[in-house]
Amino acid sequence: MSVFAQFAVNGIVAGSVYALIALGFALIFTASRVFHFAHGGVYTFSAFAGYTAFVTFHLGLVAGFIAAVVVAVLLGVLTNVLLYEPMRAGGVSPFVAMISSFGVLIVITNVTAMIWGSNPVVLSPGGQTTVHHFGPIYTTNSQLLIVLLTGALAALLWLFFRHMRLGIAIRALGNDAELAEVVGMPAQLLRNIGFAVGSALAGVSAILIGLNVGIIDSNMGMDVILMATVAMIIGGLGNVGAAAGGGFVLGLIQNLAIWKIESKWQMAISFAILILVLLFRPSGLFGQGQRSAGS
Amino acid sequence: MSKAGRASGEPILRVEALAKSFGGLRAVNDLSFEVKPGTITSLIGGNGAGKTTAFNLITGYLAPDAGAIHFRGRRVDGLAPHQVARAGIARGFQELRLFNRLSARDNIETAVPHQQGEGLLRALLGGPKLKAERAATAARASALLDELTLAGQAEALAERLSYGQQKLVALGRLIAAHGELLLLDEPTSGLSPAMAEGFGARARALAQAGKTILLIEHNVEIVMRLSDWIVVMHQGGKIAEGPPSTVRADTAVMHAYLGLS
């Protein structure tokens, strides 16, 4: 029983990690309707920016976070302004933008590897920090922080999108960009805000997760963005909260899979769930069915 | 259509107690009507009356919640769209749905049924059989293009044609598809009065040649002049039907057209 509990806790922690990233990814998707796969690149690069400030130049952890967030926001907004917005203005579908996003992901990932090497790099020299015991269950400071932060952010974003004018405006924009422009919303500005906040989230999570795991490497973004996609689809595309929910479900499933089956299959199982959801419940587990995958 | 069938007045299409709801909305509600072969029947009614939904149900794009659809005596509700088309119902779309980046000729040649060259095997094997078939298809398309006064635009991409020409290509596709029953959705919308006239003449000619036409149309004049029979829909159901003279005099129809529910 306690083994199960430990796996469940690990699942919640892993789920929080996915939810945290899915939140940013979903926020961007809500605002722009683009699957911004380059988000994985933003995540990776900002982690290394934080590493540079925190480890290379010994400027302290806060500087690390700031560096990560600033770099992330810059990358995210630039990608939108230089790539997606012109494509949108030219009448190109979000689908083609998604393909170009793959290109950006590949460029950023490999530039990161060129600068810092493709081997993992230690972010948290002290390794895991304080370990807490809750009965037979282990957890660390950073893990607790991740779970709490994710919960807080998810709640904040839910409030934002439901009850704050800016949030409602961004949602409306995502649902019907043409109409929103007709009504006078500064569409591009709102989308850029979406990209900025979403990317900032990526920067924060990159450092947090890097601290939790201890190391970072140039491929982390690629893996993470695939999982974020799975989380978003499992949860449901309509809203950010659903994406976070999808992240939690994914974390739990993966850890239960590790418990029962070998850990090497967790990716394959995650993608199998993705496909099953796409086929049988396209609106996602928590979605409202407004934007579903089926034809 | 066998001679016996036509002589006995067997309907080529029989729609029976058709119903379809979307969520709480009853788009089609206990709709029943018949279409006689070789005639031009018009389906009219205000916006939201359920006409296009009826078309979608007849052609298999939607599955009915209740009711049946008989075509030439055979049940076709429940069939997939391409199967319904194969059975002999050629369906046109309000939004045309042309193959935009294909030429006018290619649009029409694609519609010609029973082409072995459209199967992988024949495409790979090639040979004189394929050549002969392609020549025959091309000849049919050329004849049709001539008839539709599109000969000069045969190689032009469909998306480059004028709206009127595009509508002709759409009609050409339906004719090439050799359906016995042609379903046309707003065939004269966006056309000048002269072109609408031209359409009317073509429709008449098709009917003379034995085709049956069921059309959704808002142009009252065309409807009255062209139709052998009119079915009036309102809020998903049929409120009147009959030859133009009858329908014109029917006050319920007037109400429907004035938008009073």
């Binding site: 790539l83 083609v96 393909i99 394959a268 | 294909l102 694609t110 459209e118 199967g119």
Partner: protein
């Protein structure tokens, strides 16, 4: 000389792969990102066959194609009902699952892959030299090109393009869109699996990393840059994208970052072309991708 043979072989394989994906993306409008998985399936089947039973080339092709087609159908059958982005995401899912299988199954050698694969035998004599294998690769590419040309010039090709334009309208003309899409999936899989067979016999080894998502994106890049709907474009793109990074060698770029620089190059091309020239080098229509 060896160097040019090696490049030629690589170009031939990628030209074949690009053609196989172009049939899906450019002609039919099915944007699949799982092509590397099919390529890999063909490679592993040929490798396992050669290691355990026979190195006969014809049998290798046949079995690789058969399994490749089967896997392709497993992907296609459920995914065909999804539209656009979601079809691609499903394909992404399948690509990842299959890649995971390559990396984690015992029989495929796991992350280290397979090695020591014998030379192929064609109707008897064994092809040992790289020169002979290059001729093999080139012949396959030529055959695939000619077959693809034949198919796309026939009424079948016109029907594919019609499906790409508006599959609802195709159905309304009495033609089964499902059958058409399945058929082209099968053809595409045969070509991709055949390319995998050549890959295996040329390298005599398999590294599973060669069949991951990056590779699928690369093949898609080839199709887009060459021009969706243009077979010649696919061949041209394969040649350009293999040859151009080779010129980096003459720019004194440190070995350590050469592979990454190459990827950056491909990524930039993909971004550049999707942003500025969606019709690719030789393609006709700007917007085939949508």
């Amino acid at each position: 000389m060896e160097y040019f043979i090696y490049l030629g072989t690589l170009i031939s394989i990628y030209a074949t792969l690009a053609i196989s994906l172009n049939l899906l993306i450019g002609f039919t409008g099915l944007i699949s990102i799982a092509q590397a998985a099919i390529y890999g399936v063909g490679a592993y089947v040929a490798a396992l066959l050669a290691l355990n039973a026979t190195n006969d080339l014809v049998l290798s092709f046949l079995l690789a194609a058969a399994v490749g087609v089967a896997v392709s159908l497993v992907i296609a059958l459920p995914s065909l009902r999804l539209r656009n982005e979601y079809f691609l995401i499903a394909a992404l899912g399948f690509q990842s699952i299959i890649f995971s299988l390559f990396m984690n199954l015992e029989v495929t050698g796991g992350a280290s892959g397979l090695y020591g694969i014998p030379h192929p035998a064609l109707f008897g004599p064994t092809l040992r030299t790289s020169g002979e294998k290059f001729v093999l690769a080139l012949s396959l590419a030529a055959i695939c090109y000619l077959l693809a040309r034949r198919i796309t010039n026939a009424p079948f090709g016109r029907l594919l393009r019609a499906v790409r334009e508006d599959d609802t309208a195709v159905a309304s003309l009495g033609k089964s869109v499902f059958r058409i899409k399945l058929t082209i999936f099968v053809v595409s899989a045969v070509f991709a699996a055949a390319a995998g067979t050549i890959y295996v016999y040329s390298l005599s080894a398999i590294d599973p990393v060669a069949f991951g998502l990056d590779e699928s994106v690369f093949i898609m890049t080839l199709v887009i840059i060459g021009g969706t709907g243009s077979l010649n474009g696919s061949v041209l793109a394969a040649a350009l994208l293999i040859l151009l990074p080779e010129s980096f060698k003459f720019l004194a770029i440190p070995e350590a970052i050469a592979p990454q620089l190459r990827q950056v190059f491909y990524g930039l091309l993909l971004v550049g072309f999707t942003r500025f020239r969606r019709q690719g080098l030789i393609g006709e229509y700007r917007d085939v991708l949508q």
